[in-house]
Subunit: 208 residues, 2 copies
DNA sequence: AAAAAAATCCCGGAAAACAGGGGTTTTCTT
DNA sequence: AAGAAAACCCCTGTTTTCCGGGATTTTTTT
């Protein structure tokens, strides 16, 4: 019996997943959680799943960070990411941080079952569109999602609100030079050369 | 018997919805479709539902446009929007274009059933978080999602890619002045005063 | 406690975007 | 076929961002 935990904040989706997984008698969904905190607590206290099906966009933490944390403590648990997005950097970041599978939410039910069985065999499972997304990108310049600092995020949000450097500096009680430094660093981390692109990418990666 | 059609591109979600709706014996899901085109065709040819449960983000058309189109041809059909987003302009645009309900995807199953029954009684149904989102905004300056032209969308995308006005002008074989005009119009339509904000909002409204 | 990372501050010149006016020609819609 | 909307073009001055270097002080992590 393969013990599976579902981490997903949409009850309807959870319902659908459970329903699909019920059709495979070797799979047992032993629990479901709507956010990162509760699943971490459950792992601490009682649950010992073989596989975690995890939505990438949770209300409290990003699936990327949650994956990192879980794999650090429980390296045997296989994690399969569930996502609506097929952006290459998202996929790459998840896999790099320990996910064994990546399935888009528009996948059919049997893809999920296949994914679970594949990762239980110790292999990696990517759904078709995910493979496409990775293939089309140059293997060498695979981009991960940049790690941005608290302050950078704060400034990014203010930029997104339409504030100018001067206004941001005033609001945060720091010098305009500092704001410009953060701006510069953000552009560098995202590999672009204007803030508009930074904001667009950040929105895409749900960093805003 | 209330005849319901589900329009949603995630099979797992469809599965979940059907499962939930099965618990109410007065509701009959007579069909489901994964995109706008197929549901329009079905309405043309055979289906006569009382209610359509519609995902706002479909692969081919926006739920907003699809709602407009369906209500124009079949004014008796009640449409309930299903969405992950609680952005005020999205909600407002959907309701303005004829939707009778708006339910967030993180809602519980019984909210959906309640929504269906409410709209069948001729009333409007908004889930709790949706009501919150509308309440917090000033009733007078409720913003709808701007209608942008083909050209503006094109330019918006190029801006998002990080191109400068000059580069865009070159690529589209038009003058830089024209590009600046479009930029200006975009800012005006979105009610902001720099392109970065435009891009952020466009991303939010899934216009990019 | 040492090393690394983050946050802060500084400058000047070049490039781009914004603001706020003007107008003409296509292309839809009615 | 008329009117409206979209797409196009033009100008000048001002503001803001970008790029290219710096450097110092806090935090955080190891």
């Amino acid at each position: 019996m393969i013990k599976v935990i579902v981490v997903e904040d949409h009850p309807i989706m959870v319902e659908g997943l459970k329903n699909i997984l019920r059709t495979d008698l070797t799979i047992d969904v032993i629990g479901d959680y709507g956010n990162g905190k509760s699943v971490l607590q459950a792992l601490e206290e009682k649950e010992h799943p073989d596989v975690i099906l995890m939505d990438v966009n949770l209300p409290d933490v990003s699936g990327i960070n949650l994956t990192t944390e879980i794999k650090k403590k429980y390296e045997d648990i296989r994690i399969i990411a569930l996502s609506v997005h097929d952006e290459q950097p998202v996929i790459h970041s998840m896999l790099q941080n320990g996910a064994s599978g990546y399935v888009l939410k528009n996948a059919l039910g049997n893809e999920i079952i296949k994914a679970i069985n594949t990762v239980m065999d110790g292999e990696e499972y990517l759904c078709t569109s995910t493979r496409e997304a990775l293939k089309s990108a140059d293997q060498d310049l695979l981009k991960a999602i940049p790690r941005i600092t608290r302050r950078e995020k704060e400034i990014l949000q203010l930029i997104g609100k339409g504030l100018t450097t001067i206004q941001i500096a005033e609001q945060l009680f720091i010098s305009t030079h500092t704001v410009e430094s953060h701006r510069k660093n953000l552009m560098e981390k995202f590999g672009v050369n204007n803030t508009t692109s930074v904001v667009k990418l950040a929105a895409e990666y749900k960093l805003l």
